[in-house]
Amino acid sequence: MDAQASHDFALHVRRYLYVFYALIFGTLITVGASYIKFGNREVNIAVALFIAISKASLVACYFMHLISERKMIYGILTFTAVFFLGLMFLTVWSFGDYPQHTVTH
């Protein structure tokens, strides 16, 4: 492998380290945030999930190189994402929409 290429990789490596620090930081603030009382729990959930999603996307984009992946992969993952959301939301939704007067316990 020629010098140029390995030089690029040195750059890559530096980027990986930054991501690493970001992830550590993210973890710590998630824990921190969970001890703050935002009034109602929903806010805590929102915050925690937001951080989790950003961490996840860091891992996906840089460690898994999704940031520079091929169209084909994007296609596959988009469909997966759509169906996953479909599964989750439709199911949750239908648990919220029973006939009138239905008693759930």
């Binding site: 492998m1 290429a5 390995s6 990789f9 040195a10 890559h12 490596v13 990986y16 380290l17 991501v19 690493f20 992830l23 550590i24 973890t27 710590l28 998630t30 824990v31 969970s34 729990r41 805590n44 959930i45 925690a48 999930l49 951080i51 989790a52 961490k55 996840a56 891992v59 996906a60 460690f63 898994m64 091929r70 084909m72 992969i73 596959i76 993952l77 469909f79 997966t80 994402a81 169906f83 996953f84 599964l87 989750m88 199911t91 949750v92 648990f95 759930t104 316990h105």
Partner: protein
């Protein structure tokens, strides 16, 4: 005719076969854990008021484990980069770290499991509840000794975040005669623990599986480097992708199960 594009990417897709394969596999994994996450949401939303546990898991330990997994992720990607930069020994070093970290993760996890299995909730005949870790040494066939506390209402056991939950734990002795029901914090104890054990158990299996693969590629499998470095690097990339995914799942598991 041999199978094309096992190593070099196919021009129009720009991918080699295994790359497509692993991403498809990961797609199915997304649906697998996705379904379990959806179930988690439904169980949690469906739980009666005040009967969904909060703060039942040890946050410091969980945090430590999260950091362990994240670190293993960076070492993995480093290992791959070293191969790209043609530095085999560095690769060996980094993946050695990965393997140790994986082991650490599993150990910590099993410690946490053990902690739950030795934690008991006892319903007394008079309706009161005792809750705490069992003290094996001093528990006899006649009496049970717990490192814990008595409570009147079940709800008091559920939200350990709230201020009043910060209670001191002392040794309590209970005569087996007045025990109505005694159950440890195993999967069957409630739906929270059920989904906790299922999700983390499945995740742990993935960790172990990934570690085995990486272990193989690190040990005997690495001979391939001499004969066919290109292919070997690809294999490391593939196994790496899987490992990152496992890490990624944990990134969601941790807040969802430990913090919220």
């Amino acid at each position: 005719m041999d199978i094309p594009y096992t190593i070099e990417p196919r021009p129009d897709t720009g991918l080699y076969n295994a790359k497509v394969g692993i991403w498809l596999f990961l797609a199915s994994e997304v649906m697998l854990f996705g379904a379990l996450f959806s179930s988690y949401i439904l169980l949690r939303v469906g739980a009666p008021e005040g009967l969904w546990p909060h703060g039942w898991l040890n946050v410091p330990v969980g945090t430590a484990n999260t950091l362990v997994l994240i670190t293993s992720s960076i070492t993995t990607v480093m290992a791959w980069a070293s191969l790209k930069m043609n530095q085999f020994s560095r690769f060996k070093f980094f993946h050695a770290c990965t393997l140790c970290l994986a082991l650490t993760f599993v150990c910590i996890k099993s410690y946490e499991y053990h902690d739950k299995f030795t934690h008991y909730e006892i319903t007394l005949k008079n309706g009161r509840l005792a809750d705490g870790h069992i003290v094996k040494a001093r528990t006899t066939p006649k009496r049970v000794v717990l490192e814990g506390r008595f409570v009147a209402d079940r709800k008091d056991l559920y939200d350990l975040h709230s201020a009043k939950a910060q209670v001191k734990h002392d040794e309590i002795e209970i005569d087996r005669a007045d025990i109505a029901k005694m159950e440890n914090y195993g999967p069957r104890h409630n739906t929270y623990l059920a989904i906790y054990f299922t999700l983390t158990g499945l995740h742990a299996l993935h960790v172990i599986g990934g570690a085995l693969v990486i272990g193989f590629l690190w040990g005997p499998g690495s001979r391939l480097w001499r004969t066919d470095p290109e292919r070997f690097t690809n294999r490391i990339e593939i196994s790496g992708l899987f490992w990152h995914f496992v890490d990624l799942v944990w990134i969601f598991l941790f807040p969802v199960l430990y913090l919220l």
